[in-house]
Amino acid sequence: MERYDVVVVGAGNGGLVAGTAIAQAGFKTLILEKHNLPGGCSTSFVRGRFEFEPSLHELCDSSDNEGDMGMQSIFDRLGVKVPMLHEKNLLRAIVKGEGGYDVRLRAGYDEFLDSMEEAVPGCRESVKKYLDLMVLLNEAQDYMNNGVPNPATLMGKYGDFVRAASHSNDEIMAGFGIPEKAKNIIDTYWGYLGVPCDDLNALHYLSMIEAYIKKRPAMPYNRSHELALALVKAFQSYGGEIRYNSEVTEFLYNSAGAVIGVKAGGKEILARKVVSNIIPNNVFNMSDETKIPKSAVKLANARKLGLSFITAYLGLDASAQELGIEDYSVFICNSPDTRKQYEDRLNFGMYVVNCLNIALPGASEEGTSMLFFTLPMMPEDFPADLKAEDYKKYKNDYVRRYIEDYEKTLGINISDHIEEIAIATPVTFARYLSTPAGNIYAYSNGGWDNVVLRTVFDNIDKKIPNLSFCGGHGIRGDGFSSAYTTGAMTGEKVIAELRREM
């Protein structure tokens, strides 16, 4: 029987980082991946003369500040190098209807404040205070990471941290007196976390947008597939072994309820520690149910699944300039209010269209360009009775409406230039990722399942011995950098456990 120090189940962003960190520390590590490619969402696909980016909109947190858990410092520690291009602009937000606007936000602290002031004269000071809150939030998190916090200090000196950690982004922005329109503009990124800003935790949202604003969004040159390959290369250089087409079908336990390995390809593989990059729901379904703590099952049942998407990838036979496309990221909304955008998600509430050629000139041949439509959908939105024979029509009809809306909104023609098209739906994501309902964001970050409570209860909830989790379902929520971060944290934790037990 094969034996490893650590088996990592799933070669997604979190699993690759955790596995690489553990292998780098000298432990015999095996990564098992169901698909024939590494990366999970971090991938690409080729159609005709185009290679499409399927999931990554932009990397946040790609700075290399010493000591922070940002993705660049994680990659540096693992010896992973991927050339990236940083963008000057954050986004263009086009909001239709009453109170609508069309604004562009620039990246960089001062540039962001300038562009906010241009869009909403007089908002600069209040927006600055909101952004600067992040300084206190970082201090507070450092303070909490250094031993048991003193409640008086926490409530006094770090009182605003406590407020941001326990209120929605909209409540905190209102506290700073940010004008309504400015608040709505700042809220534009809510789709990246999947929860409207009246429910989205302020600490979570501010951490994310601050990372985009200050550290600038970045893109790898050769699609996110390159990020996965760079991690695999580092993992292998530390002696790690990765196997594709190797789906784990069972988690193995001893009589004391501790994980002792997995079954893949009909064979049992033993490990001292197992790291799961796959969602707890799937792990529990592949386990002897008597071994799962009742509290863990209850938690999984209590949680709400997060956002999924219908996405469309268009290869066009005209350049962005010829078509009149000027922006990398365009957010198109039918109302300034994120709650309304969320509720209307199946009917143009909010969707994102990216043109990779703007961020990465040369991403496709000269005289061509690529568009990536991201249309949010909750797991319960996918029609339960859709038949196999109606699926093709369903997805084409769905996307056609959005292409038409995009053309009308921007006053441009793309329909006549579609040389390649691929459409992905929750069915596609279910096929490649095996997530429940084909969802992408794992568990919703809203309500009581926000990242603050996930972090706090991570130390309290009863765990299955020898089993750790990382990825979008982890304490940092969805997103590339969040998955890298939980991968790094889980890697460190597993290394410490292994060393303690030696």
Partner: protein
């Protein structure tokens, strides 16, 4: 004083209690099964890991061309053949002398036939074809066949393609067009198909009568037989070129051209199509067949008479085989009985994607469908990679 003074800090505690209460109130019965979700169920139905089928009927057109009608082998767990998009193919896996061979075959039946539990492929004898010969000469009704899910992107895409498609078919390249025509007749595809079908004589034009029957009932379907070796009333004579295409093309309206046939047909038709001045987006080829004779390319400078050693790693186990310079790594592995994954065998689908650990390979540019980063990081598609030295390669295990 903080701007946020009016926001209560005590809400932190109520938030904790909310979570505790929510978890406490939740059910402790096992979490929902993955396939209780409609998207996962549909994904499994559309893209099964493999399909266990058995031969329901064999329709022989000649000793060298037969149709195989499959039905689901329920005993082995396949309830019905998966729905597909007209134009797609199945990979058939057969065991010959203890070695597993996989080959792609276009689906000839319509998607709707799967609802009746049927799916049909057409097999034409290929020179040196190990698998086609085996299928044609050995298979009989009732035999079990393992296939892939439906695959491939030689499909009609309403948001991309013109409303009228000129189909150019040669030989067994007619197969996907039978599926297109039937799918139009049954309402599952909505476009006008003008099918230019090249054969030597009308007798060779398999499916011609059937497609004509469909055309009689449906104005969206039209068939034109183009015969190279006989003149017949109602048929065109010669090869399918610019003039014939222009004669049947819709006037003053964009049209797409879909081609499926042997390389020689592509070589001729592509030159003719180039003179029509239509945009690249309107011309689509089905990949049809493996790449042979890499030495015919100008950029091939190695000695084609050599044979190299290939070390193959699969899931930690190691195998070896010999690979002549003119043979793809995939064929060499297959001949040695090493089970490697493969689907399209034309460089495009990436299912055979493997890591080149050491050694050099020649990859013909025209079939190099790899991702950019794969090229940089040393991953290859063995179906289109020819050895230039001894090779060590890490191959994912084949499924099924």
């Amino acid at each position: 004083m903080s701007d946020l003074n009016n926001i209560p800090r005590a809400d932190l505690f109520s938030m904790f209690f909310k979570r505790i209460a929510a978890v406490k109130a939740a059910s402790d019965s096992p979490v929902k099964d993955l396939y209780s979700y409609p998207a996962n169920r549909l994904a499994r139905e559309l893209h099964p890991e493999c399909q266990h089928l058995k031969i329901k009927e064999i329709i022989p057109f000649s000793d060298d061309f037969k149709c195989f009608v499959f039905e689901a082998d329920k005993e082995l767990g396949t309830e019905k053949p998966a729905w597909f998009s007209a134009g797609q193919y199945l990979v058939i896996a057969v065991e010959i002398d203890g070695k597993v061979y996989c080959r792609p075959y276009s689906i000839a039946s319509s998607p709707r036939d799967t609802l009746k539990g049927e799916i049909m492929i057409a097999v034409k004898r290929v020179d040196e074809g190990i698998v086609s010969g085996y299928l044609l000469d050995n298979l009989k009704a009732g035999d079990k066949v393992l296939t892939s899910a439906p695959l491939g992107d030689f499909t009609y895409e309403p948001l991309r393609d013109a409303k009228t498609v000129i189909g150019i078919a040669g030989g067994s390249g007619i197969t996907p067009f039978r599926s297109f025509a039937k799918a139009i007749a049954e309402g599952d595809e909505d476009f006008n198909l003008i099918l230019l079908y090249g054969s030597r004589t009308l007798k060779d034009a398999v499916f011609s009568d059937e497609i004509n029957e469909l055309a009689k009932e449906n104005p969206k379907i039209k068939l034109v037989n183009v015969l190279s070796e006989e003149k017949k009333k109602g048929c065109e004579h010669g090869f399918i070129g610019k003039e014939i295409i222009e004669k049947y093309a819709p006037e003053g309206e964009a049209y797409s051209i879909f081609l499926c046939g042997p390389q020689a047909m592509y070589d001729f038709a592509d030159k003719e199509i180039a003179q029509l001045g239509i945009r690249r987006k309107f011309v689509r080829h089905e990949v049809f067949g493996e790449y042979f004779h890499p030495e015919k390319n100008e950029d091939y400078t190695a000695d084609i008479s050599k044979t190299y050693n290939v070390t193959v790693r699969i899931s930690g186990a190691e195998y070896t085989c010999a690979c002549p310079a003119d043979t793809s790594l995939l064929r060499a592995m297959e001949a040695a009985g090493i089970k490697a994954p493969s689907d399209c065998r034309s460089g495009r689908c990436g299912w055979c994607r493997s890591q080149l650990i050491s050694g050099d390979v020649y990859i013909p540019q025209s079939v190099d469908g790899r991702r950019i980063a794969d090229k940089e990081y040393g991953y290859i598609h063995p179906c289109c990679s020819f050895p230039l030295s001894d090779i060590v390669i890490d191959v994912p295990p084949a499924k099924g």
